[in-house]
Amino acid sequence: MTGREAVIAGAFNTRQARRLEGETSATVTLAAIRGALADAGLAVADIDGVNILPGLDYERGARSFGYALGIQYFWVGRGAPGPAAVYEAALAIESGMADVVVIAAGEAGLHTDRATVAPWTRPSNEFIECWGLMTPAEFALSAKEYMVRFNVDPLDVAHVAAVIRNNGARNPEAIYHGRGPFTAQDILDSRMVADPYHLLDCATTAEGGSALVLTTAERARDLPGTAIRVLGGGSESWGPAYTHPPTYDRVGMLGRASGDRAFARAGLERSDVDVFELYDNFSWEIIRYFEALRYCPVGEGAAFVAGDAIEVGGRYPIVTDGGTMSHSHTGESQRNQRVVQAVRQLRGSSAANQVAGAEVALVMALGDIVLLARS
């Protein structure tokens, strides 16, 4: 290596709400960037790398937004929001391609037709959409197969959703603050969306933005905030979403190899992790993550997460801001929010559910992972 070490110097969520009146995807994304820069003690003029996703503009968003910010020349990251974008930006900084990278996403005003599911959940592939497959149904397919294969009690899966939603109920920044507490039975009593997923097993939809600022450890020493180290990461895909039927055999171990790589690079053991900010788009995914990451044997994840294991105060606390189920889910920025919350846990500044003495955080979203640590 070059001796350059990348750190996260700024992390910020805008206000999140079911609807942010008067905001657009561009304005909430800008607000998120301003907030993260202020948190870092840096300015737009310092930015020389971007990975920005306003709304759902995957094709042109980053370059358009860098230009719109008035930055003349900039490195462009292409990793998906969240752990993939963070690890890619860290590698860009460590290899000398950039010095200050802003990662941001935000969405407002895109999901206006409430008779339909959110626009980012409606696939367009000709062999998918005609069957009525939207995101909850897509993720239900592998969950159903797993639950039948391993004879899983639906209450054990619902327990995951109850824990996450109760974290959100305690978080004043969550859009469902005060909504709860829930029992596992409450989750099962909510209306069915796509068997085995009930309404309360699923992410919500909301509006808001989230951003992160990365720079070198050397530069961060002169900045006011607490820098968070990026120790390792990994990213893998199983193919294009909404194209091939997502059976359990196809998607069940997504993230296992990237997890192995992340821990090897970081020089950490599984037992070193204090808090798990996992992408909780659906309840069973949390069980899948712990199995893919080798925290427990395949098929034993439901027992692994039982009781208080994944509660704040348990050994494996998860999704401490309430996640996509209770805190917010804006289409894409929720994946950045997993990282924002990990940073706040490691700084000891979580708005709620602080894990005492948290030193190492694992952030995972689908097949993307990053391991973070307090400096």
């Binding site: 000709e126 005609c130 069957w131 497959l133 149904a137 039948v148 309404l199």
Partner: protein, 143 residues
């Protein structure tokens, strides 16, 4: 399908690559690509074989018989064009490939993983006939 006038079920827009498949459905045949080199059956339609990367894929008539790999009963429709509940399933055909479909003709609680199914063509427009599946009482379920 009773749907509000401004909501029609999203229909496939065939491409040059996929048009033979949809033409087959119109004629009541479930076509699938077969690799001329390794003989594997390939779905969805592609330009080269994902197994041996051979570039000669020929359309053949498949059995239309398979088993349910997994399924979900959907109660919150993608759009109001879909009447709930409907069953989205992954079916593994006898030829070894998998496809997404709807299981029709039975209430969701009668569908099981491993159930034997057979293709059932549902004409939707003059252009598009959808290859749905029905439970096949004459065939043996998979374990």
């Amino acid at each position: 399908m009773s749907a509000p006038a401004d909501f029609t079920r999203p229909l496939p827009r065939p491409t040059a690559l996929s048009e033979p498949f949809w033409a087959g459905c119109r004629e009541g045949k479930l076509l699938v690509q077969q690799c001329a080199n390794c003989r594997a059956h390939v779905f969805i339609p592609r330009e080269f074989c994902p197994f041996c990367h051979g570039e000669t894929l020929e359309w053949v008539v498949g059995s239309g018989c398979g088993t349910v790999v997994t399924y979900t009963a959907v109660w919150r429709a993608q759009t109001p064009a879909f009447e709930v509940p409907y069953v989205v399933a992954v079916v593994r055909l006898a030829e070894g490939y998998e496809m997404l479909t709807n299981i029709v003709g039975v209430p969701p609680e009668e569908v099981r993983i491993g159930a034997a199914v057979r293709v059932h063509f549902v004409p939707v427009t003059t252009e598009i006939t959808l290859p749905c599946f029905r439970l096949d009482p004459d065939a043996e379920d998979a374990q």
